[in-house]
Symmetry: C2
Subunit: 195 residues, 2 copies
């Protein structure tokens, strides 16, 4: 079915999402009302309900589309190869992707507690699917003899925590380039799982 | 000077801090009013002002005492020894200490954004002092030839991020004991900095 370009939802949708992401990251979900989001977008609160039924749905949609976009971006970036090659690709991809989306990663951790149970279960399943991609690389490396990782699931969580940490301190105007930071983190990760 | 035991501040202080910690961690600083904290403690909002001048001071005091207690607990736990021995002590200490204080670590990261500039600078200085303790262990290990860490400051941040991650998923009722988790993380950290 052809999509009506320029329709109300087409125009408002991205603005609503952008405003909600910004306000949730700045003030926290509990402190942000639909009214505040509407004010940030520059519409009446009523107009917001044409786009989303409630604030919970907005939070859930933001987190869900973040995870889905992350999964498809990694599927695109994963070029196969040996387990160490794939692990390097994962480390560089994960850092680069999240450095461009600090608000998304902040919300992905901070606002899990504010998801209703069904929504939480769905986001958690997507998060595990992403993590599982890394688990499989570690398992393949155990099998090939490149890695020695006694608990691949736990190691995957530890690795992702370490890589996520970059977003809390990295600034493009700082002394280190993204490339240098990626390389240093990749080097630590490589050694941490080495046989 | 003898302290009046059972005075108002003696009794209310810890309850206020406990209530504020719980509510900030659950709802976020911006969504928690002094009135809500008072209700959680079971006093009138006016009584809260006998204990603290405002919500910002309460947040700052919580974060400051968390960092000061962390620094003195690590000073106590650090028994010296070779760089690898001290690094192992640090890894096990950091995990054990934070697993007992998930709300504190959550707030320490999440609410930095809500500190006023002077307060932020003071908390940031304490955080850096803690991080610097790890930097010095890594530098000592570079000197002794035990470690090969090209950028000790960056490696310290990466290591702390990795260790912090435990608090997001570990549950005492889960299949892994604290001891096993500490050992697996320590093993990854050990390898990640090894010469």
């Amino acid at each position: 079915m052809a999509r009506k370009s320029g329709s109300h939802a087409d125009i408002t949708g991205p603005k609503v999402r952008e405003a909600a992401l910004k306000l949730f990251a700045r003030d926290g979900y509990a402190a942000v009302s639909m009214r505040k989001i509407a004010a940030e977008v520059g519409v009446q609160a009523g107009a917001l309900y044409l786009y989303t039924p409630d604030k919970q749905t907005l939070l859930f949609d933001l987190m869900k589309s973040h995870m889905e976009e992350l999964l498809s971006a990694w599927a695109e970036a994963d070029r196969g190869g040996t387990p160490p090659e794939r692990l390097e690709a994962f480390a560089r991809f994960h850092i680069a992707y999240h450095l461009d989306r600090p608000d998304n990663i902040f919300i992905a951790y901070m606002e899990l507690r504010n998801l209703e149970p069904d929504n939480f279960a769905e986001i958690e399943a997507l998060r595990r699917r992403y993590e599982q991609g890394l688990v499989e690389i570690l398992e393949a490396g155990n099998d090939s003899g490149d890695f020695d990782v006694p608990d691949p699931k736990l190691a995957a969580m530890a690795a992702i925590s370490m890589l996520n940490g970059v977003t809390t301190w990295f600034r493009d105007e700082g002394p280190l380039s993204r490339e240098m930071v990626e390389t240093i983190y990749w080097d630590m990760l490589r050694k941490s799982v080495a046989a």
